[in-house]
Structures are given as C-alpha cells and as structure tokens.
Symmetry: C3
Subunit: 344 residues, 3 copies
Amino acid sequence: MQFTARDISFLLNGTIEGDASATVNRLAKIEEATEGALSFLANPKYESFLYTTQASVVIVNKDQVLTEPVTATLVRVDNAYSSFAVLLEKYNSIKLNKSGIEQPSFIHPSAKIGEDVYVGAFAYIGPNVTMGDNCKIYPNCFIADNVTLGNNVTLFPGVTIYFDCVLGNNVTIHSGAIIGADGFGFAPQPDGSYQKVSQIGNVVIEDDVEIGSNTTVDRATMGSTIIRKGVKLDNLIQIAHNVEIGANTVVAAQTGISGSTKIGERVILGGQVGVVGHINVANGSQVQAQSGISRNIIDEGKKWMGSPATGYSDHMRSQVVINRLPELEKRIQELEKIIKEFKK
Amino acid sequence: MQFTARDISFLLNGTIEGDASATVNRLAKIEEATEGALSFLANPKYESFLYTTQASVVIVNKDQVLTEPVTATLVRVDNAYSSFAVLLEKYNSIKLNKSGIEQPSFIHPSAKIGEDVYVGAFAYIGPNVTMGDNCKIYPNCFIADNVTLGNNVTLFPGVTIYFDCVLGNNVTIHSGAIIGADGFGFAPQPDGSYQKVSQIGNVVIEDDVEIGSNTTVDRATMGSTIIRKGVKLDNLIQIAHNVEIGANTVVAAQTGISGSTKIGERVILGGQVGVVGHINVANGSQVQAQSGISRNIIDEGKKWMGSPATGYSDHMRSQVVINRLPELEKRIQELEKIIKEFKK
Amino acid sequence: MQFTARDISFLLNGTIEGDASATVNRLAKIEEATEGALSFLANPKYESFLYTTQASVVIVNKDQVLTEPVTATLVRVDNAYSSFAVLLEKYNSIKLNKSGIEQPSFIHPSAKIGEDVYVGAFAYIGPNVTMGDNCKIYPNCFIADNVTLGNNVTLFPGVTIYFDCVLGNNVTIHSGAIIGADGFGFAPQPDGSYQKVSQIGNVVIEDDVEIGSNTTVDRATMGSTIIRKGVKLDNLIQIAHNVEIGANTVVAAQTGISGSTKIGERVILGGQVGVVGHINVANGSQVQAQSGISRNIIDEGKKWMGSPATGYSDHMRSQVVINRLPELEKRIQELEKIIKEFKK
C-alpha cells in the first residue's frame, strides 16, 4: 500500500504544508520513523521530534506552532491523535482483508456458510456448522460439528473450536486458542485410578469478545461455560468447565479460573492470577497480578492482592512488615533480654 | 440424533409414564432444560424442578413419589443417576464416532495403520509410524517419524507428536498439546552465549493417560520423559525433559515441573504449582494451588502449601499471623516504650 | 540408521577393542542401554557400569583402565565426552534432515523461497514472504504476508507467524508457538466496554534465538517487540507487546513479561516469573522461580526472589522468620503478660 500526503489529507479532511506528493507506505512512531513512514504529533511534550524526524509525512494538530524548520510534509487536522487512530484502524482492516475460499480446504456439504467469508487453505469446517457473514477463518483452523458462528467472526490461524460451541457476532480469536475441549473431570476409583466423567456441555461466547493466543476455554460438563459480551482474554489463560465470565471483564495473560466459578462484570484480573473453583467474584473487583483468590468476593469494586488474597492496602501493610521481620525478631530478643535482667 | 421416550426406556430397561412418543435430541440439567431435552432427577432435594422443568423426558428413580402434576414424560429406572451416566457416555461416544480417512491427509507409505481408524483431513502421519486399532487422529494433527501409538488413542485437532515418542493404549490428548519437543538444554559459553545441547531422547506415555489442551511434554535429553499409567494432566501444563510422573497422579492447569524431577504415584498437584528440577515428590503428596516445591518431599501422603512450600497446617498458621503483622509490630513498639519508661 | 563399531571408530579417529562389526542403531545412557545401543563412559565414578552394561558399543577415554572383563566393543578416543557430543549432534541433524516441498502445501506465487528448503504438507507460505536458504518449515505451519525469514530457520509443526514479522538466521521455533499475534490493547469506554486499539507493529527476532512450544510473542502496538541475538525462551512463555529482551537472556517456562518492559542482556528468569509492564531489568539480573518483579531493577548482576521480589538474601532471611511467626507471636504475648505483672 502506498499513499501520498494528498491522499491522507483528503481522507482526514486536513490541510497540507510541504510536498503534497510525498509518499508513505507504513506507520511509525515519530521518534523511530524513517523515510517513507507516516507519523503523528499530538502531545506538545514531544514537539522537538518534529524537527528531527525522518518521517515523510506527519499529522499534526491544526494549531501546532512551528519554532524550527521541518523537512516532513505536514497534514494539519483538528485532532492529530484521533485522526491517526482512524488511519491505524483503516490500515489494519486493509491488511486483514482476506476473502474467498482457498484450496485445499475442507468444508462439509452440510455446513451453512454466510456471505463474503474467507476460508483459508487447510481450514476444516465440519458437519452442520453454521457461519454468519463476513467471517474470516484463517488456515489450519478447525471447526467441529454443529458449531455456530455469528457475523464478523475472525479465527486466526490454528484456532480449534470443539463441537456444539456457539460464538456470537464480532468475536475475534487468536492463533492456537482452544475452545470447548473437555473439562478436567475424573471420578476417583477405589483402586486409586480415575474414571473419566463425560463432558457433554459446550462453550457459549457472546458478542464482541476477543480471546488471545493459546488460551484454553473448556466445555461444560453439562450446560455451558459462558463468556459474556465484551470480555477480553489475553494469551495462555485457562478457563475451566462451567465457568461464567461477566460482561466487559478483562483478564491478563496466564491467569487460570477453576471450575464452576462465576466472575462478575467489569472485573479486572491481572496476569498469573489463580481463582479456585465454585466461588463468585463480585462485579468491578480488581485483582493484582500473581494473586490467588481462594474464597467468595462479595463486596463490589474492591482491590485484592496476595496468595491467598486479602484487601490491597492490608496486603501492602503486611508486606512492608515482612521485609522488616528479621529486625523485628531482634527487637523481641532485645526486649526478652531486658525483661530477664529486670526479673533478676 | 433423535430418540423417543420409548427408545430410552427400552435402552435403560425402564417404565414409561406419559407420552411414549415424546422425542429428545440433547441432554440438559433439569433446571435449564428446554423442549426437546432429556434430563434426570436423582437427588430428592431438587424434586421441585420436576414440576417446573421444560424437559420433554425426565429419568427418575423407580420409587420417586409425585406430589404435583408433571408435564414431562417420565422414564422410571432403578437408579436415575447411573442410568443417566450410561446415556451420557453413549451420547459422547456417538458424537465422537468418526471413522475413515479424510482427504487431503498425508500418510507416509511406510506407516503401519491399524483397523477402524479415523484420520482427519490435513493430518500428517510420518515415516515408520505404527498406529494400533481404533485410533482417532483428528484434522491438523502431526505425528513424526517412528512414533508408536497403541490402540484406542485419540488425538484431538492440532496435536503434535515429535519423532520417536511412544504412546500406550487408551491415551487421549486434547488440541494443541505438544509431545516431545526439545528439552530446554543450553550450555553457557565463555562469551556469554549459549550452545544448544541436542535432545535425542523421547517421551513415553503409558496406558489410560489423558492430557489437556496446549500442555507441553518435552523429550528427554537422553532416555525418556515418562508419564505413567492413568496420569491425568489438565491444560497449559509444562513437563520438562527427563521428568517422570507416577501412576494415577493428577495435575491441575498451568502447573510446571522442571527437568529430571520424579513425581510419585497418586500425587495431586493443584493449579499453577511449580516444582524445581532434580527432586523427588513422595507418593500421595497433595500440593495446594500456586505452591512452589523447592526440595525433596520424602514423607508420603502429606499436604503442602506456599512458595517455598511448607506443611499445610504450618503454612496456614503463619499466614494468619502475617495478616496481623502490622498490629504485632505496634505491640512490640508499645512494649519498647514501656520498657524505656521502666529503665528511667 | 545402523552403524558398526568400525564406522564409529573411523568417524571419531579412535581405536577398537573387541568385535569391530558390532552394530548399533541408537544412543543410550550406559546404565540404561540395551543391545544395539551405543553409549559412552567419561566420568570414572561410573566405571562399574562398564562391566554390567548391555550396550553393544561403548566410547571410552584412551587411558581408561579395565579392572574386569567387558562384553561391549570399546572405542577408545582422546575425550569420550566430547566425542559423544559430536555423535549426538550428528545423529540429531540426520534425524531432522528433511528436504523438498511436500504436497499439498500452499506457497503464494509472490513468496521468495531460498535454496535447499523443506516445506511440509499443509504448511502455508503467504504473499510476499521472503525465506532464506536451508529453512525447514514443518507441516501445519503458517507464515503470513510480508514475513521475512533468514537462513537456517526451523519452524517445527504448527508454528504461526503473523504478518510483517522478521526472523534472523539460525532461529528455531518449536511447535505451537505464536509469533506476532495482537498485543492486549483495549481502551476503556464511558459505558464500561472496551475498544480495540489496533496493533500494527511487528515482532523482530534476531539471530540464534530458540523459542519453546506454545510460547506467545505479541506484536508491538507500533514499532517492534524485539528478541535480541542468542535469547532462549522455554515453553508456554508470554511476551507482551513492545517488550525488548536483551542478547543472551534465558527465560524458563511459564514466565510472563508485560507490555513495554525492557529486559537486559544475560538475564536469567526462572519459571513462572511475572514482570510488570513499562520497567527495565538490568543486565545480568537473576530472578528465582515464581517471583514477581514489580519495579525497575537498576543494579546489574543481582539475585532477586519473592512476589513482590526483594534481594535474594533479604528474602531468604524474612522467609525463615515467617516460618517462626506463630512462635514469635507467643513470645510477644509472654512479654506483654510479664510487663502487665510488673505494672501491678
């Protein structure tokens, strides 16, 4: 893709200063940009970069005052930051604008495929799959029997969806994520071995959910593991069977949520957090990275930390004393010595 | 799949109350069931659901007394719970009853394939692979040179088995699990760089093992990484090179076991546990979630917690005091003040 | 592969004692070897195994004195350990010596492919990919648009490289690793939902890097996530957007590094470590397993432990007292009692 300053100015309804025919073919930060890059300056703090940048074109605010000569072509707009965000999204959507059915791919004759979809080579669409419009199924994806996808679903390469799962509209799943594998259910036997408990439920993912690379969401034993509208899951997360995650909750990488636990709405879980099974975590809870939640959280909107987790400020107070423990022990010894003297 | 109450009654040797031609096409919990679902009532505590359920057919105990009218067709059996478990397993095995060789798949001419196997499209069976009967190799799986699989092995979509690995009978591996990638072995060099240590061993997985999604089991440097009979591994677990895991041990999600460590039999490791390398963990040990095992565990059947882990009850006692540390420090200050007064 | 003692002796410039026509077809530890195996004895401590081993051929040091009869054929060399390492590497490179383009694979006509490459079946090479010589792309790999690979790059089965990423020479990536998926960037909206921030940067991986199974390295929001020369990453690691990892740094399994953090050179991070975003970790830092790094580390070459991490020896001192906390509390109570008596 190649654009001139004139193209960009037209697109953003801006005005040009400098060479209108300057061409760019990529986006870059103003301080890292090289020739052929398009950049932007929104924060006046970084004005000095404007005079040293190698970018060919820079988007600036309408009212940006220049105090030194500039070599880049400038495109002046009302709001440089939001204009750049517009370009960024457009750029991304052009990049990801795949379409058509590549060969060889496997589409079962009983599958119902919507309009304007992309199915990459080596993708597998199983029996009775229903897929909405504008879906993009990248190469090496696997969609099992009876899965339903809404509109505008994107599965990046190598995503696996087990049978019977249901995905809403505008769901994006990154490479290597596994949706609907068996929950970890085994019944202990008298001889010390374990017998498999069949996992016949499914996973339901509502609209506007994004799921990161290599994250695993297990199917329910019966019923559904549910990821509500607007949830964002980072990479390498474990969601166990029969978990429910409330709307607009955000979970950072490598966190694990055990079976049948219900996470509320607008919760924020940091990275590497663990949550035990069969509990509830209240709406708006915020849990620091590496914490372990071992019991119900009932009060909404509180901060938690530690393993097992306690209130954030309680935890920080204890933590400070922990670092002084050896000194504290010496003070106790000192007191004991004095008391012993007194007693004599 | 569609069944009538009559079919189900016949299969379970039960008796029918209500419309024998009522049809069902799925299983559901009694409180969540909708029309067309088959459900069961085993626990008398939930009797009230029997009168409100939307299920079309419900399996109940022979001696279940009705105190209100029921709209669903009832199938009475000796034991509703175990009858339902029978159906559940049958349902699951029908769902997973794939067979035949789908095209395009890649089967090297030197591979020996047993009877009644399923090989999905885009699956890759390398040179000199030996595969037993009734194996199911789903799409996008990769089985490298010289791998041996027993009978009844199921590899869900996207499983990778590196060369020379050996799997026993009735092994189930979920999507994205990687068996036999190189162990993490690098020798530090004088210039600060690292030289790769070739990893030429393999992974041996005995009978009746189940391995979860995106779990990684590394090959041994030399010899074998061994997963003994009946072991169950959850998702996103790391098993390093030359580890051995004893029979019937269960490991929860996101736990990591470092190189050359030997875990005993009937051990239970919680989620996000870490175990250092080159140690032994005694038979029957139980380790709480997020613990770190940093030295040999010699006594069998004990509970462990914390990072580094100590005995469970010791840990809990210390934990309680940690939460009181700020208060404890104040009490020490108070004592020091009083002593100072005394001294005067 | 089958070799005689004579072949091996010739290759290593050694001398034979025993049957020169003894054949071997695999490598094994001396204490585990069975007939047909080649082994070595370097450490005199293990001499006794020489008299009991079932190996067909054993490599020993030139000056090894025998005190009992030996059944295996011996090959005497200057240094048994380094001779065996040579064989081990040769053995491994023969095992992995795949070549040619298998069918069906997908290579976009605009891709530029070097000489002597291997492209496995079901591998996908997208538009405008540039690939150097001697690359091995195993089955089910996906390489997106505009990706650049240097020479001698090995991607084991099922590796995914998103668009625009750049890999140097001698890079090895194990199965299931995902390079260049979107960073976790979402802007909170007034209604509690989140809006995606387009991630248009890439990942740059320099020469001699090895990356383990199912590890995820996210693309930068803008600019590059950078893995410097000689870095070794174990399995199931999370590297967030805009992270930079310095040359020859080693990271153990299941560790996570948050966005925009810069890890120095020759750093060692243990397993399950977490590092927060937007900080620097000094060159040569060593971080114990399960630690949490929550702030800048400025001093080079120090050891760290705990969550949040403190200096290693400070942490160990506090840890010792933590285990004595219940006893400590009793001592305080005792002092309070005595003081109370005094006061009376």
